[in-house]
């Protein structure tokens, strides 16, 4: 009897020890995300999270922290950085905090083998590299042209999208004469739509292209920048809706969706909205075309990817596994098919809306490929734009003063 009891006791203890070892093997990582709620990639994130759990769930537990709102996530990451407590892994949808946080981000270079490197084009790795260290793992590319309403263009007698900025302004006049508001613009949240136009104007020359691919510029007092700001001021005062001043992306997009405006600068992730009948009329997508900016300019660059802040070696290993999974070619293709966002790898899918592939195809004929301001400029300059655009639009400041204000802000870094 005693022997039997001893045997049972030993068995239970062994079982307990085994369970304890098993439990210890599960490494937890913290991943904050804004890909929730109505975020266009919420569905992608949920699907990829489920797939990761199915494959690695017995070894890695991912604690997802839901942070609704892109800017809220950025703000929280900034606080965590100040407290030296960056999460295990995070991505900010392309928002650049690498330069601010490079001292706490994990150098991913030792973890990038040939196979992983092939998951993104060189330009994507370059955007995520600082001083020879890879600080972000790319998974999407920034490909942006502008969308236009073909019906409006036809009614205004415009046969094809403008090839020069002179033609572009002439087309705006024609659209205005035909009773349309030519452009969707905005000033809030860094004036995304407006700033894309601004960048495209600057990037129309070889010199401008170099400037629009330069990280962290500190001097905005260039001839090309002031000239572009002058054109933007004119656009604000003549070719856009009154709600552009103070309005955010959603106001600019809404004006395009209800066909109040004829053109909007934005990326292919917007295309799925063209088919969403809770937002637009049923045949809306058929009326929309996509074009490169005058001067054959396209936004075609890498995008800041997943960053790792894990400190503990086991947590770090788990975070790297997670990030590699989220940036794999399979994840990129899912992203393309579910959201229209362009993959970092040179892959394509037929299972997407035609306008998405048309946008990507435009990059092949572009003379100038530029990067966007949110990826390149200092975070405080990106914030300052929202303060300065309304003043520029109302004529309270001149384009020269606008450039100086951004220069002053950049030089505070």
């Amino acid at each position: 009897m005693k022997k039997a009891l001893l045997f049972v006791l030993c068995f239970v203890m062994a079982l307990g020890a085994f369970a304890a070892v098993q439990a210890q093997d599960v490494v937890e990582i913290n991943v904050p995300t804004m890909r929730i709620g109505i975020n266009s990639s919420a569905e992608w994130f949920a699907e990829r999270s489920a797939a990761f759990n199915a494959e690695y769930g017995d070894r890695i537990k991912v604690n997802i922290e839901e942070i609704a709102g892109d800017q809220n996530l950025v703000d929280k990451i900034k606080v965590l950085y100040s407290a030296n407590s960056l999460p295990s892994a995070f991505d900010l949808g392309g928002y650049n905090v690498i330069d601010m946080m490079k001292d706490q981000l994990v150098d991913l270079t030792p973890y990038i083998d040939e196979e992983t490197r092939a998951n993104a084009s060189d330009i994507c790795w370059e955007v995520n590299t600082r001083d020879g260290k890879i600080l972000g793992m790319p998974f999407t590319r920034q490909v942006i042209g502008y969308f236009y309403n073909k019906e409006h263009f036809a009614a205004a007698g415009i046969e094809k999208p403008a090839e020069t900025w002179e033609e572009f302004f002439e087309d705006c006049e024609k659209l205005k004469a035909a009773g349309f508001t030519p452009l969707s613009m905005d000033t809030a949240d860094s004036g995304w739509v407006t700033s894309l136009m601004l960048g495209a104007m600057i990037g129309g020359t070889d010199e401008g292209e170099v400037w629009m691919n330069t990280a962290l510029p500190t001097d905005y007092n260039t001839e090309a920048f002031i000239d572009a700001a002058t054109k933007i001021q004119y656009m604000f005062q003549n070719y856009t809706t009154p709600d552009a001043i103070g309005g955010a992306y959603e106001h600019a997009a809404a004006n395009f969706f209800i066909e109040e405006t004829s053109m909007i600068a934005n990326g292919p992730w917007m295309v799925s909205d063209f088919y969403d009948t809770t937002m637009v009329d049923e045949d809306f997508a058929d009326k929309i075309g996509v074009a490169m900016y005058p001067g054959a300019v396209m936004y075609n660059s890498g995008k800041i990817g997943w960053q790792v802040g894990a400190k503990d070696p086991k947590e770090l290993e788990a975070a790297i596994t997670y990030v590699k999974f989220m940036t794999s070619v399979e994840s990129q293709l899912k992203m393309l098919e579910m959201t229209g966002d362009t993959p970092a790898a040179d892959v394509a899918s037929d299972n997407v809306y035609p306008l998405v592939n048309e946008t990507t195809a435009l990059t092949e004929n572009a003379k100038h490929s530029i990067n966007d301001f949110q990826s390149l400029w200092y975070a405080n300059v990106v914030d300052e734009i929202s303060v300065q655009y309304p003043l520029l639009a109302q004529g309270t400041i001149t384009p020269e003063e606008f450039a100086q204000a951004l220069t002053d802000t950049a030089q505070k870094n």
Partner: protein, 277 residues
């Protein structure tokens, strides 16, 4: 019979009151009406009435955000922080208002000076302390922060109110054998009911609406509060007006209902507070 002058005065007063009512109710009416419209309808004409009573916005809002869980958390956290603030600060204010001791003025100044510290400067230190004390991602953590954030306003309000109560009442209580605590509890608090209610309302509203600490000091949906839920309906490149307005309606209607039910008490305490403060 009213004179012509009186009739004119009544008419002007009525017009003014109707105008004020419209300004107050208008935005709320607009939000509620917009919650029944589709996003397309809102984009086309923001001020038009809905074409039909569409509940899709509510369905989507409930699908994508844990709004009721956040609502419950808000209620628990706001009520608890209000109670804590009320109990602790009223006693401190009473001591500072009634007793002369060395450092009284300096202490008052110290408590009030926290008004001058910007919230952004408090975020990081509080985050680190809360992590050390294991208060991060807990309701208690938020309750303590909110109670402390309301300290200067409540202290100022309560102290002024206590000072306006005649000292003779307390002296009579002491003569009858009551101690300091009993006097405070049975004589002062009932007399200062209006002032305490004013402070409680302000504290509750502050806790109810607070956003940035709720964002930084929590990470799980189990403890998060209502202001965070409203961000589920907009992001940089997507928006759903129907869900957003439905979410706002669900968030604000219960508070308005409570206000309407307790209107008399709230208004009288606000007026009393303003007169005596």
């Amino acid at each position: 019979m009213l004179s012509k002058k009186s009739k004119l005065w009544v008419t002007v007063t009525m017009i003014f009151l109707i105008l004020m009512a419209l300004i107050s109710i208008g935005p709320l009416f607009w939000v509620v009406m917009s919650s029944f419209k589709t996003t397309k309808e809102t984009m086309r004409d923001a001020f038009a009435l809905p074409n039909s009573w569409n509940f899709d916005g509510y369905r989507v809002a409930l699908d994508i955000s844990p709004i009721f869980k956040f609502y419950g958390n808000s209620l628990v956290i706001a009520l608890s922080s209000t109670l804590l603030n009320l109990v602790v600060v009223s006693m401190a204010a009473y001591a500072l208002a009634r007793f002369r001791f060395k450092g009284n003025e300096q202490l008052t100044l110290l408590f009030s000076s926290s008004l001058l510290i910007p919230v952004s400067a408090l975020l990081m230190p509080i985050y680190r302390i809360w992590m050390t004390l294991k208060l991060f991602d807990t309701r208690l953590g938020l309750i303590l922060v909110y109670a402390a954030l309301g300290l200067p306003e409540s202290l100022f309000l309560f102290k002024a109110y206590f000072q306006s109560i005649p000292k003779e009442l307390e002296e009579a209580a002491y003569l009858d054998g009551a101690g300091v605590f009993r006097t405070f509890l049975t004589i002062i608090c009932p007399l200062a009911k209006s002032g305490l209610a004013t402070g409680a309302i302000l504290q509750f509203l502050k806790s109810w609406n607070e956003f940035i600490f709720a964002l930084v000091l929590t990470k799980s949906t189990e403890v998060r509060t209502l202001p965070l839920a409203l961000n589920y309906f907009t992001s940089q490149f997507t928006f759903n007006y129907a869900a957003m307005f439905a979410g706002i309606t669900m968030a604000v209607l219960p508070s308005i209902l409570i206000y309407v039910l307790l209107q008399e008490q709230v208004t009288s305490s606000m007026i009393a507070g303003s007169l005596k403060g």
